[in-house]
């Protein structure tokens, strides 16, 4: 990877965030992880003050997104990311508790790259995150449009 990939983790539950981070690390992924616990902060970071997303030009981002956020739904963030000309190439992994088929379909329609339902069973959860970490370690992420 020529440009180190930054993982943006948008997850309102700090416990989940910690567990996710830990398991990603266990799978040997050492990339920077920038955590956000609510949608507003994440949006501010992603799109900058002017809302253009210009700040991330040339960066390689990977977004880990929870749908159930306290201040907005993850679907809105997904849509804005995929509509933004700088960010639309960034892979988005939706990682959430919802396993409603309508919701899953909608996410893929909006351009989500991977949809993962959080298993309640911790073994499966840890396993899923580790595999995701392995996936991260091999995935090629393009830099945001210059």
């Amino acid at each position: 990877m020529s440009i180190p990939v930054t993982i943006i983790m948008i997850e309102d539950d700090e416990g989940h965030a910690r567990l996710i981070e830990r398991n990603i690390r266990r799978s040997g992924v050492n990339n920077d992880i920038v955590p956000f616990t609510n949608g507003t902060e994440a949006v501010n970071y992603l799109f900058g003050k002017d809302g253009s997303g210009l700040d991330h030009r040339g960066q390689a981002l990977l977004i880990l997104l929870d749908l159930n956020l306290p201040d907005m739904t993850g679907i809105d963030i997904l849509r804005r990311v995929k509509e933004n000309k700088y960010l639309k190439c960034a892979p988005v992994v939706v990682l959430t508790t919802t396993d409603d088929s309508q919701e899953i379909k909608r996410c893929y329609e909006l351009g989500c790259n991977v949809y993962i339902t959080k298993p309640v069973n911790y073994e499966s959860f840890a396993n899923a995150i580790r595999q995701l970490g392995l996936f991260f370690s091999v995935i090629q992420v393009p830099p945001a449009a210059p």
């Binding site: 830990r22 508790t97 959080k118 309640v120 073994e123």
Partner: protein
């Protein structure tokens, strides 16, 4: 309109009808009486006229005899003699007839007697005159004629006849008056009766119209009430549906949101478990470092050798973690169950024609392994075809058959029967087994969510029957159980044969 008033009105109408009927009967009876009276009166009038005729006839015959006598006296023509004889021959019967027809009247009887005497006297004179003539002594005859004229025997007869006629005329007048009277009475009675009947009819019509009006207004009120009722029912149904949707949403959100913390609890419990292993390994290492014995290096994750209190601590730690984990697992199962139920409640049902026998055969095939393990046979009797939701039916029957296989009596070969019949637009299915049965006190409980009955020796959440009943209800049916402890159970499901997606799931 109170029931009392209605009854009074009904009685009034019956009385009116009865009165009208009585009046009609009275009119008919009096008409018959008066008509026969009028007939009698006219007969009497006719009789009077006949009597008068008879009197005239007698007088005429006497005149005829008289004139024939005189003719014979003058001409001695034999034709006058025969004329005379003929007239004389009719006089006495005529007088007799007259007497007979007036025999009922004492005045006339007296008159008739007088007349008869006068007539006989006159006839005697005639006979004598004729004898004189026959003996060729006309002078004698003439003398007799004169004598007769002097005696005025004809006058006597006429007087008697006049008296009789006068009497008859009096009777005639009286009888005519009587006949007129009875006819007038008859017509008066008829008119009065008819008027009464018309009056009663008018009252009846009035009453009938009034009750018809009352009925119409009652009907209108009933219609209004029905409309109102329908509106109320619609309103309530909408309310209920909204409440139901709310509950579903609530259940969904709650179960969903409960999951997040559960993931943390479970995750960090697992993390704690790993920490525990590290901690006790270190404790073991430290304990050995204090002791003089050479430390055997433990490889990997092998359980560290602990002694005394440390060992006890480690076991307590493990026990606590095990309880936490099993509770989390249980809670997870419950939440998953609620989620599945709410998801099922939100699913749109799609009515299709289903060959129920085929559907149940397919279910039986999937449980064939369990059945042979439980030494059970499943028999399917002919089942009716219905229009319903296929997935829901599959879930209903597979739950029931699973339950039947699950709760067989230990040591007794299972015998499960699926029966079906139709009745009044509904298909009735029965799943009967010879298993352990359900005590009557638990018949309601088994349909409640998370509730189970009997010996708890089989894994399960207590969801199956609650789910089945919810499905049956959504399909517009009902469900019941018939069972005794130790003598098997029969679950009966009644479903509409032609189920159209009803308003029950229109907006869920």
């Amino acid at each position: 309109v109170t029931a009392d008033a209605t009854r009074r009105r009904a009685i009034g109408q019956i009385l009116l009808l009865a009165a009208g009927f009585l009046v009609l009967v009275a009119i008919s009876a009096s008409s018959v009486i008066f008509v026969s009276k009028a007939r009698e009166d006219s007969a009497l009038v006719v009789h009077t006229v006949e009597v008068e005729n008879q009197i005239n006839a007698v007088l005429l015959e006497i005149r005829r005899a008289e004139s024939a006598t005189r003719g014979y006296l003058l001409t001695l023509g034999p034709e006058f003699l025969s004329e005379h004889s003929a007239a004389v021959a009719t006089i006495i019967p005529s007088v007799e007839k007259l007497a007979q027809s007036t025999a009922d009247n004492p005045v006339q009887v007296e008159n008739a007697k007088k007349m008869r005497m006068a007539v006989e006297n006159r006839l005697d004179q005639f006979a004598r005159e004729m004898n004189f003539v026959k003996q060729n002594q006309p002078s004698g005859a003439v003398a007799l004629v004169r004598e007769a004229a002097a005696e005025n025997s004809s006058g006597t007869i006429r007087e008697a006849a006049l008296a009789m006629r006068a009497e008859e005329e009096r009777l005639f007048a009286a009888r005519t008056v009587a006949a007129d009277l009875s006819q007038r009475i008859a017509s008066t009675v008829t008119i009065a009766g008819s008027a009464l009947v018309i009056a009663l009819a008018a009252i009846s019509i009035f009453l009938v119209r009034r009750s018809a009006g009352a009925r119409d207004s009652a009907e209108a009120r009933l219609r209004d009430n029905n409309l109102h009722l329908e509106a109320t029912v619609d309103e309530r149904t909408t309310d209920l549906r909204e409440a139901n949707n709310e509950i579903q949403r609530f259940a969904y959100i709650v179960s969903h949101d409960l999951r997040s913390p559960l993931v943390n609890i479970m995750g960090f419990t697992s993390e704690l478990e790993e920490l525990r292993a590290d901690i006790f390994r270190r404790i073991a290492a430290l304990g050995r470092a204090v002791g003089t014995a050479p430390v055997p290096v433990l490889a990997g994750d092998a359980e560290p050798q602990l002694e005394g209190e440390d060992r006890q601590l480690s076991q307590d730690f493990s026990e606590a973690l095990a309880f936490i984990k099993s509770s989390i697992a249980k809670m997870d199962r419950l939440i998953t169950a609620i989620l599945n139920l709410t998801r099922e409640g939100r699913r749109e049902f799609e009515p299709v024609r289903i060959d129920t026998s085929e559907l149940i055969e397919a279910i039986v095939t999937t449980v064939a392994h369990q059945a042979s393990e439980a030494d059970a046979q499943i028999r399917i009797e002919p089942l009716p075809e219905i229009v319903s939701d296929r997935l829901a039916l599959e879930q209903i029957f597979s739950n029931l058959i699973d339950n039947a296989l699950k709760y067989l009596k230990p040591g007794v070969p299972g015998d499960i029967t699926v029966r079906g019949r139709t009745k009044l637009g509904f298909a009735i299915f029965e799943v009967a087994d010879n298993g352990r049965g359900i005590a009557p006190k638990d018949h309601q409980r088994i349909f409640d969510l998370f509730r189970r009955a009997g010996t708890q020796d089989k894994p399960g959440q207590g969801i199956g029957l609650a789910h089945v009943r919810a499905l049956v209800r959504r399909l517009g049916g009902t469900m019941s159980v018939h069972s005794e402890l130790n003598s098997g159970s029969t679950f009966t499901i009644t479903l509409p044969i032609e189920w159209a997606a009803s308003n029950r799931n229109r907006d869920t």
